[in-house]
């Protein structure tokens, strides 16, 4: 029992270590790596000599460029453990960790709500489609699901702006930009929460629209398969209430395979979120990443990329825990 959770956590930590190592070698050793590019740019634009440029780059990336490689690597890992990810180039003096601490919660908030909402409703709709298969509702929802799940999410984002905001003028898109209204301070009050939801409405709708189709179609397929299982027939023969069969027998078992898909979906949505956040000017971690990329702010790019990957690993581990709780069989294996 305990063993399953311990194994999952050990695996997640191993993954985080591997990914940080890959990132270290990418920024440090790749030809044309960020450190070299930054040094070259300083020499070119500010007329600095090589030594000065080099020491400034070393300070920014929090890497001692003169130390042997293993020492640099050890320092890098040590710094990571202390959340020291270097300093931003474009806003000098701001540590990357402060930027992350400020913007990451908004992404977790919007992506978390969006994914949970779409997973739960996708499963319910899929279940309903399977029970009413070949009916009008099933056909209509199948067409809807196939269409929304095949359109790239950033295009759905642009479509929402164009139609809801500009053509039909249903939503005040200019006011909805940002993560909260000016003068609002984060607190556990209804005013703040509703304001945050108001600003996150468009990104959340985009995440829901682009992922719900996949859940609906997979759940429908999975439910149709489960309905033919013997244990469902036995449950009916035992005279259990329909509602109980649907939830505890059919639904629970049919939803299981979807949890493995959830882990892939989390990575995809978090990965795609940075274009969505840029489209809606929603200042989450993705928005920071895309502006860091545009301005070639390498320490921020490195830090944010690492944080995005770690969030995906953490989310996957949580999904695994949920899966283990729903299906006790896999904890043994």
């Amino acid at each position: 029992m305990q063993n399953y959770y311990v194994r999952r956590i050990a695996r997640a930590l191993l993954m985080i270590w591997i990914v940080s190592t890959i990132i270290f070698f990418l920024i440090r050793l790749l030809p044309g790596n960020p450190v070299e590019q930054y040094i070259a740019r300083l020499i070119e634009t500010q007329g600095m000599d090589y030594e000065n440029a080099r020491s400034q780059a070393a300070a920014l990336f929090a890497i001692d460029l003169d130390a042997p490689l293993w020492q640099q690597y050890a320092d890098y890992i040590w710094n990571l453990l202390h959340f020291n990810l270097g300093v931003s180039i474009t806003s000098p003096g701001t540590p990357v960790s402060a930027i992350i601490a400020r913007f990451l919660p908004w992404t977790i908030f919007s992506v978390g709500i969006g994914l949970t909402f779409s997973f739960v409703f996708g499963i319910l709709l899929g279940l309903m489609m399977a029970y009413r298969r070949e009916g009008f509702l099933d056909h209509a929802l199948t067409v809807f699901a196939s269409v929304v799940s095949s359109i790239p999410n950033y295009l759905i984002g642009i479509l929402l702006v164009v139609w809801l905001g500009v053509q039909w003028k249903i939503l005040p898109i200019a006011q909805m930009r940002g993560t909260m209204s000016p003068g609002m301070t984060p607190s556990f009050s209804w005013a703040f929460l509703s304001d945050a939801l108001f600003h996150a409405f468009l990104p959340i709708s985009t995440y829901v629209l682009t992922t719900i189709g996949t859940w609906m179609l997979s759940m429908k397929g999975s439910t149709v398969g489960t309905l033919g299982e013997d244990f469902v027939t036995v449950a009916r023969a035992r005279g259990l209430k329909d509602w109980r069969i649907t939830t505890a027998y059919v639904g629970r078992n049919a939803a299981l395979p979807l949890f493995t898909q959830l882990t892939i979906a989390i990575g995809f949505v978090v990965g795609g979120s940075f274009l969505i956040e840029t489209i809606f000017q929603y200042q989450g971690i993705g928005y920071v990443l895309s502006s860091a990329i545009a301005q070639r702010d390498y320490p921020v790019m490195q830090g944010v990329f690492l944080v995005i990957t770690v969030s995906v690993i953490v989310a996957n581990t949580l999904a695994d825990f949920l899966y283990g709780w729903l299906d006790p069989r896999i904890k043994v294996g």
């Binding site: 993954m15 591997i18 990914v19 890959i22 790749l30 044309g32 790596n33 960020p34 590019q37 196939s146 269409v147 095949s150 359109i151 790239p152 950033y154 295009l155 642009i158 479509l159 702006v161 164009v162 905001g165 500009v166 053509q167 898109i173 892939i264 990575g267 995809f268 978090v270 990965g271 795609g272 940075f274 274009l275 840029t278 489209i279 990443l289 895309s290 990329i293 545009a294 070639r296 790019m301 990329f305 995005i308 990957t309 995906v312 690993i313 996957n316």
Partner: protein, 291 residues
């Protein structure tokens, strides 16, 4: 003659199998139509590059099928010319990632042991790193101004999910009775691989390819929108990117200029994904013998 007749027989059976799924067949026809328009269309429809300021933001009409853009140019001609680069890059990426996924996925399944562990370890790491940010971060210090290179770059990083799927498919095939029977009959490795396994994997390979194609369109247009791919000319992604950076998405009259490339990409994705339902039937060796 016999060969030609054999080919037409094969084609006839394939098309007949494809019509069994109506939605899939419509997807197939629409994919063919898009390919024909994008690959052959440019030879017949000249790209309208002349600025006509008295003609800007016209709605669709008999003269301008899809309206005109901010410089009064015909959007339809831009859509016709804008597809081939997108499709070419996607095809290069899909070929590479399908090749990696099928090659290493089957190797992993059949070799087992240490090779399997090593391949799956690498795949798991790649699967964990979010693809799109990785591509974007790498694109920030790799210059991607060549279409083939862009395709290879996308393909080289987008195989992990496919590889896992191919591996699990190969694992299940490996244990099937007919493979067991072929082994017992001592039919030789090449017979088992090419006569028993590949025909059964074909559906999977073709579907992997189409999914890789849509994934490559997704990442490619995304990178263009972020301004990381300095591809010029009229390309569906570039059209949306210009419309976006110039603020046209907030301008009511500019609707056709944004909607048309979005529709083109969405229709392409939808057609290719729907087509897989028919491909599933067409490449299933069991259905073929039944016709």
């Amino acid at each position: 003659m016999g060969f030609v007749r054999g080919f037409f027989n094969w084609l006839g059976t394939t098309l007949k199998l494809m019509t069994y799924n109506k939605a899939g067949f419509i997807g197939f026809l629409s994919t063919c139509a898009i390919l024909i328009i994008c690959l052959i269309g440019p030879f017949f429809i000249p790209l309208d590059t002349k600025t006509k300021l008295d003609n800007i933001y016209q709605p669709p009409s008999a003269e301008y099928w899809m309206g005109t853009d901010h410089q009064g140019r015909d959007i339809f001609s831009q859509i016709v010319h804008g597809g081939k680069d997108v499709i070419y890059v996607a095809a290069v990426a899909a070929f590479l990632s399908t090749f990696i996924a099928v090659g290493f996925g089957t190797l992993s399944a059949f070799a087992g042991g240490k090779i399997d562990t090593a391949i799956m370890g690498v795949t798991d790491v790649f699967l964990t790193i979010p693809q799109f940010p990785l591509l974007a971060v790498l694109a920030a210090f790799i210059t991607l101004n060549n279409l083939t290179f862009l395709g290879l770059f996308l393909g080289a990083l987008s195989w992990p999910a496919l590889l896992r799927a191919v591996r699990s498919q190969a694992l299940s095939l490996k244990e099937r009775d007919f493979v067991e029977a072929a082994r017992a009959l001592d039919l030789g490795t090449s017979h088992i691989v090419f006569r028993e396994l590949v025909p059964n994997m074909m559906t999977y390979i073709v579907i992997s390819f189409t999914l890789a194609l849509t994934a490559a369109v997704y990442t490619q247009v995304g990178l263009v929108l972020l301004g990381l791919v300095p591809v010029s000319g009229s390309n569906w992604g570039v059209m949306i990117s210009f419309a976006w950076t110039q603020g046209a998405i907030f301008f009511r009259d500019a609707m056709w200029r944004i909607m048309m490339p979005i529709l083109a990409i969405a229709l392409f994705q939808l057609s290719v994904i729907t087509m897989t339902r028919s491909l599933e039937l067409a490449f299933n060796p069991r259905l073929r013998t039944m016709v």
